[in-house]
Symmetry: C2
Subunit: 613 residues, 2 copies
């Protein structure tokens, strides 16, 4: 087909996509037609202009190009595009936004071509960075990653985190497509149609920039061709577009964000659109049939922690990751510029090609992890646990991508001491507990940590591991199993005066209380609740039956933490249940002073037991 | 004093500050001396070079210049600076990082000159934007805001959110001081000593940039003088500095981040420093004695919601803010480019000079709110509740600033319907419940919303109000009070078969269940738990005594939400307590379908009551 013929065919496909966009949204009675119409040529040229390479019969093909709709509200375009490619029928499109349809309001994993759920703005570029890092440095495949971006979402700082990291890693296989349609949700964006405002910022961040008319197929195709030949930098195509393009009475008009046309306007719009050829289908190029080199898993070395020694669980985490990598060769680590504190540096030094420094930018780190797991990797993402709160929205969104990510937060709780409250994670358990099917693990010693890292690597899903800054004594032998959902009853008798439930640093305080109380002839049960979610309800319920009083102890706020997890796990509680937790505003001091101040130390546990005898 | 004399005196003060930095950290045995030594001249010139204007006897002076240490780990410099100004003794400095000392590891409100606690990097510039917005647009005062920034923290996206907004609002009263000391925590920063890398990025974001040698007093002073004359843009002083400056054996060396010198190295360092004149004190200029115009509060108009009508609580929020502004003339609103959804636009249209558009950048929005409240404003910050998770770290940090901020999250829960899970807040209650002394309110109708906005404005602290997208019927008369910590027993009898505890959208489902069950002769108690934190434990405990079964119903995850708040509030629960909550991964659909799918609707409540009869 000649160039003129090609453009003509693309124009026809654009008309078909516009028809689908309008029809699906009007039928649904909601959705974002105008945000879809602005990017129709940008996506049409990509998919059907001989740029994108994708095997529609095999979405998981390791060498498929990837496309992330960062502006997820343009889902009508996304589905229209796949319909124009022959992968959805008009009937399918009529289920858009209906309960049970794979065509959700914003793209989710219910639809087979989606790599990652989007809809919270400013997250797609980070996911793209993860996909592109994988292609360039891990799988070493020529596939490219395209990310469709809205202009409004460029206000999100996470975008600039992604931009800087993409340039730092010279991701010339990453192409951003910025749909500058001038209008946000409630009015003009910060820069409106000032395209140079975007160009100079993005160029300053080290990207190649191409400013084009986003509705001109020749211009768009030329830009993609240039992008295919990027040398050592990622490319941003900055396209001037019209929101609502193709429907004159909504073009470039404020007040039409997220509004579907009513029947009357819809009919008017169709008239403007002119005749639509519903028989045509766009053709997508096939990917090169290349696959990454497979690495066979090997048995790991045994671990070695002499009993009687004290080891910080954060150290054990670093050692575990290094040791277990041969067994899980899909492991990759990312860290927010604190690998000497999280101890991810132990892994980094052993396997430098499996580590990516993410600098102090936790949102992008979480997004990159999501991108990496899209291509079968097992990402471990670490920072101070307190700073993982920075990425809550990314963590939240990754549950809708059915993501397989391991987050590891060090320096948990007041027990970090002198650095003070800004560095103390006191809400991380609450945060990660909210994740659907998420796992929250909190090891108390080095052996448990190693075992939980292994469990986490094995489990498909979002796992959070909380580690401790200070050294804690080894409690467990190397053969001890730590299944997800389990617990350890470390001390028990037929006549326990109380059950103390703790995890991590407070478990050692509980054991201290046991020893001190025993001298007084008082025996307590001590449970290591290392798996806070899922929780071992059976063991807890048994303790509630067998002991007259229960006490939870945690270096975390009372809200959403171990104490509330236990209450929910127990269900009906007909014994007194007390929660020792961080209830006062913490401050700087030494760790033991702080545990005492917060009344989560040995003395506080003893006091609580005795008062309730 | 002549120029040479001035420089000589500043050099002496720098030596004194270095002495204090080294002495305090070595005495504490921890802290960040090297990160402090790099910025000593930058801060010495500011405070003692005739730039900064501050009444040390009156820190709250409305026209004091403000200084935010965004790189909070440079606290040794911060305290050394105030010691050199005669506001702390050497003895005071010896308490650095000790339990109970106001001189915490990272600056907190325990120290009288601190405006906002810092230590989580990348947050200070947003706080500075809030302070500068206040000076320029609200209090209309000539004070300036200075923010000391680390180079490593420029990787945080929140910085770029702050940079763009500062330029957008032409904050020529905001001066950033970027201490480019090349080294982060675990090695070189992304750009090392490539100062043009920072310059081009920051200039592209619309700031005036001044690149200087950060250890040359004349250069630093000249830069500040230029900054004092900024016309229509904020100014960033980009200073090349040496980490550990002044102590040759730690200068520009990796591995010395956050490490105090031991006694031997300390003595070596003091020798290098040479004789220190401990008798000198730096002089800080006084501020102009100007105060903002005071606005007297006026009684608000009465509200007007005809009973029988249905009004979305998000609409009521917008109306309340507009109506209550005369009563609380310190109210200011900020919104993340969704004011037409959160309905903050109702306030914006009525009081445009009290509204600042923050675009889609929630982290900066939270930081700006923190800055605004530092100067006595009552900021209301709104977005979709789901997207407030983006600012969790800023929210977390603001509790350590004893902040007075009202967060308002709309579009809560699955009841938003068709837009799908990305837009549904299901973890916002869990997030805000973790805040020390935080308040979490969830109104079910328009009247309750108006009353809670008033309560929030009156309360000094962090308050979260959760609003609903869809319309809900008016339940309450205009005279009904809604105190923080209260609840409403809407239906009760002497023979209630169960107590159903709900809030917001699920309260209407509970009332539906009441009506349906009553027809079958089954009477239930219904409690509107509008104050989720603090919680009305007394009413709950009474219900637990008086009814044989309790059921919580919430449009939120079971973890950390209303259900767990009730369990914790109840303490011992010797009746069956069931939690209906969002336990399945939600999807697009209409609101009623989703409430049914998640089993949090009228039918699910009825079923639970009947099964447990």
């Amino acid at each position: 087909m000649g160039s003129a013929g090609k453009i003509e065919s693309l124009e026809k496909l654009a008309r078909l996509m516009r028809y689908y966009i309008l029809t699906a949204t009007t039928h649904a009675g909601s959705g974002h037609p105008t945000s879809s119409l602005s990017a129709t040529e940008l996506m049409g040229a990509l998919l059907f202009g001989g740029i994108f390479r994708y095997d529609t019969a095999w979405p998981e093909h390791p060498n498929n190009d990837r496309l992330i709709f960062s502006k997820g509200h343009a889902s009508p375009l996304y589905y229209a595009m796949w319909a124009a490619a022959g992968q959805l029928s008009e009937e399918d499109l009529m289920t858009y936004r209906k309960f049970g349809s794979p065509l959700e309001g914003h793209p989710t994993m219910s639809f087979r071509y989606v790599d990652a759920a989007t809809g919270s703005l400013g997250q797609g570029l980070s996911i793209g960075v993860g996909l592109a890092l994988n292609a360039k440095y891990l799988d070493k495949l020529p596939y490219r990653t395209y990310v469709l971006l809205g202009d409004s979402e460029m206000a999100e700082g996470s975008q600039w985190e992604a931009l800087q990291i993409a340039a730092f890693y010279k991701l010339n296989n990453l192409i951003g497509i910025l749909d500058v349609n001038r209008l946000g949700q409630r009015g003009e964006t910060m820069y409106g149609h000032d395209l140079p405002a975007y160009e100079k910022r993005i160029a300053a961040f080290g990207w190649e920039t191409l400013v084009i008319d986003g509705h001109s197929y020749p211009a768009v195709l030329e830009a993609y061709q240039k992008a295919l030949h990027a040398k050592d930098r990622p490319v941003m195509i900055i396209a001037k577009t019209i929101k609502g393009k193709g429907v004159s009475f909504i073009e470039d008009r404020n007040g039409w964000h997220g509004v579907a046309l009513d029947q009357k306007d819809y009919q008017r719009a169709l008239k403007e659109l002119g005749p639509v050829d519903k028989s045509i289908r766009g053709r997508i190029l096939s990917p090169e049939a290349i696959e990454p080199q497979a690495v066979a898993p090997r048995a790991p070395d045994p671990m070695d922690y002499p009993s009687g020694e004290s080891v910080a669980t954060r150290d054990a985490y670093g050692h575990a990751l290094k040791r277990l990598y041969p067994q899980f060769p899909d492991i990759v680590a990312v860290d927010g510029e604190v690998s000497n504190s999280t101890r991810t540096e132990i892994f980094k030094e052993a396997h430098p090609d499996r580590f990516f420094e993410m600098y102090i930018a936790e949102q992008n780190m979480a997004g990159v992890a999501l991108g990496l797991q899209c291509r079968g990797k097992i990402p471990f993402a670490s920072s101070f646990a307190a700073f993982l709160t920075r990425a809550f929205d990314q963590v939240r969104m990754s549950q809708y991508s059915d993501a397989n990510i391991k987050f590891v937060g060090s320096h948990a709780g007041t027990s970090i001491g002198e650095d003070g409250p800004s560095q103390m994670a006191l809400e991380d358990i609450a945060m990660f507990r909210t994740i659907h099917n998420g796992v929250v693990l909190y090891p108390a010693d080095a052996v448990a940590t190693e075992k939980m890292v292994e469990q986490a690597a094995r489990y498909h899903g979002i796992v959070y591991i909380r580690t401790t800054r200070m050294k804690t004594p080894i409690l467990y032998g190397a053969g001890e199993p730590f299944p997800i959902g389990g617990s350890k009853v470390l001390r028990h008798s037929a006549n326990d005066a109380a059950t103390v439930i703790a995890a991590g640093v407070t478990l050692h305080e509980a054991l201290g209380a046991y020893a001190a109380l025993k001298k007084e002839g008082i025996i307590i049960r001590v449970i290591d609740l290392y798996s806070i979610k899922p929780i071992d309800a059976e063991t807890l319920q048994q303790a509630a039956k067998e002991t007259p009083c229960m006490i939870t102890v945690e270096d975390h706020t009372p809200e959403g933490g171990l104490g509330e997890a236990v209450r929910s796990g127990l269900g009906m509680v007909d014994v007194p249940l007390f929660s020792l937790a961080v209830r006062k505003k913490p401050k700087s001091g030494n760790p033991l002073e702080l545990l005492a101040f917060e009344e989560i130390d040995t003395a506080a546990i003893i006091k609580k037991v005795i008062v309730n005898l």
